[in-house]
Each structure stands twice: as C-alpha cells, then as structure tokens.
C-alpha cells in the first residue's frame, strides 16, 4: 500500500519514490516486515512440530510487535495527510499495531523473558 503510494504520489516536482530518503524508509519497512514474517513462521512451525519453542516465541512476539508499530508509523509519515483521514485504511492498521503489541505480553516483557533465558543458560533450542 505504501510502496504503491510513493510510486504514484508526486511532490516537489518528482515522484516520492525517487527520493533516496523515501527509498530508505520503505527499505526499513520491508526489512522489519520480512524479519517479523520469518521469526513468526519459524516459531509457529516449531509449535506445530511439537518442538521446544519458548525462545523463538519470545523473539517473535518482541520483534513482530515492534515491527508492526514501526512500519505503521513510517507509513503514516509517507502517506502524509491521506493517512490521517479515517476513510483511508491506514489508521486501522496503526491502531491494531498499538493494541497487538501489548496483548499477551508486550515486547519489553518478552525481551526480559528472552534475556532471563540467556542468563540462565537456556541457549538455542
């Protein structure tokens, strides 16, 4: 949605996506998202296979909660005024990101759990 927007929207006499700073922001969004998708699917796969997954779950919930929030904040910046309008679906994502990061343990709580596991010597599962 955001990539399409910056490829079409023109500002300052050029398409937004031709600005390097904008490209950088969409790259950060893509990296956050791809990492979130990988750690989430990895943890779900381990659960489905009946393998130990506590460490992977802590990583996935800590990372994905932050990633969704970061991505929606950057998307708001790139959509500008259009993303502020409630007719645009972006606000639905940013509200859900706020809520989902807190539900079933916040990123901070899962990072603490992960750190405790490392401290107690529970290494890679």
């Amino acid at each position: 949605m955001t990539v399409k927007h910056v490829c079409e929207r023109e500002q300052f006499g050029a398409r937004l996506g031709t600005f390097q700073a904008v490209q950088q922001m969409t790259a950060v969004m893509a990296i956050d998202l791809e990492a979130a998708r990988h750690v989430t699917r990895h943890a779900l796969w381990r659960l489905a296979e009946g393998l130990p997954a506590d460490r992977e779950i802590a990583i996935a919930k800590a990372w994905t909660g932050r990633a969704y929030r970061n991505v929606s904040v950057l998307a708001h910046q790139l959509h500008g005024g259009a993303g502020y309008v409630v007719e645009h679906p972006l606000h639905r994502h940013s509200l859900r990101a706020q809520e989902a990061e807190l539900l079933f343990g916040s990123s901070e709580e899962w990072l603490t759990e992960l750190a405790d596991g490392i401290r107690l010597g529970r290494g890679e599962s």
Binding site: L33, A60, K61, T64, V71, H93, E99
Partner: protein, 250 residues
Amino acid sequence: MDLAPTPEQQAVQSQARRFLAAELTRERLAAFDREPAGHDAAFWRDVAALGWFGFGLPEACGGQGASILDVGLLLEECGRAVAPHGVFAAIGGALAVDTLASTAQKRVWLPALAAGQRHATIAVAERHAVNDPRAFATVLSRRGNGLVLRGAKWCVPQAVTADVFLVVARYRRGGCAVLVPADTPGVSVRPLGTLGKDRQSVVAFDGVTLPAGALCGRPAAVWSRWERLRRRLAMLLCAEMVGGPRRRSR
C-alpha cells in the same frame, strides 16, 4: 525447515483473501465501527460457514484439525484485511476451551464453538494486573457442593458477544480456570472504551454461584497450561500482525 506454504495452505490463504477483500469494503468497515460487536450478523454467519471458527479444533468435535501454523496463515489474511477483532477473539476463545476445559465441558461447548453458533472468550487480565494467579483479586471458593466466583476481569475481548467466559482466577494459593456462561446470575459486562477499534469489557462476577462441573480440570495444573496457551495465542497474534503491513492497495 521449509517455511514456504504448501499448496493446501496457499489455497486456504487465497480463499480467505478473496472473501475478505470482497466483504470488507471501506463502507462495510465503517458500518462495523458503529456496531457494538464490531461486526454484523451476516459477516459472522459467512465466516462460520467458511469453517474458520473450527479450523484449529479437533475433527471429533466438528473442527478441521488444522495445525497452529495453518491457523496462523489464515490469521495473516485477517490481519492483512484488518478483519473485525471478533474473529481472532472467537478463534482464540475456542482454542482456550479446547486446551483448558474438562472432557465434559468440551463435549458441551466445542461443537457449537466450532460451528460459530456460540462464542467463548478468555477473561484473565485484571485491573492491577500481575501475571501471577496468587495476586489475582478474582477468587473462586467452594460452597457446599458448588463454587462461588467473586471479582472482576478487565480487558476481556469481545465480551459483548460472548456466550461463555473462560475465567482464570485464584483458588486457594494458586490458579484455577472455570467456564462461566454469560447468562449466569451475577455476571455483568461493562464495555470499556479503548483507543483501538477493538471491543473490550470489564466482566464482573458478583458472588456467582456455579456447579462443581464448571471447574476446568485440576486447579493445580491450570496455570502452567494457561502459560503454554498464552504463548500459542501470542504467536497467532503475531501471525495476524505479520499480515497487516502486507496490505495491497485496491
């Protein structure tokens, strides 16, 4: 480890994507915002007909026996379309009943939950939330042959449409879980205004009298099972979140 979706998983995802894209138009979502439930009855019936509420439940009770990974892939599509919160709440509530409830309770509830005719939700968080059952102010005690539940649970998702609450409470010096039908005398639901478009409520239990059979298994085993379940639910939520930024413009 092969994390690429199988053809079957891709089929479930693309069917869900088409369905949600067709149903959840901007106008429909705006109308859902005004509904106390966050969705309407027609949408709920359509989702039930697709079998989503029973997707991850055992086949013996009307479910489809899908793995948690499969359920996660379905929820990715819900996240992509920002589907009403009730869908996640109902899928999570049904999985909680399947994980924590007694065999007799599952026989009563799971077929209806799988079919989407009934809706269960989880009531665990408290106002002064500490993730430890010994600190809970919602307390279950024995009275004669039955049980009494007192206290209040906060941030209960989708309580406005729930038929049954799976309550994790304090029992003696540890935790326990009880199934409380929403129409039990002494149960009250007060919607909680939240920043998001979710539907949370405070559910109060004012000396609610329950039969001994309301207890979900042995109390001593409940807290560790809840903690395992919380991890599974957190992962399903991650799957929904991962779907969010993958939205394509129409």
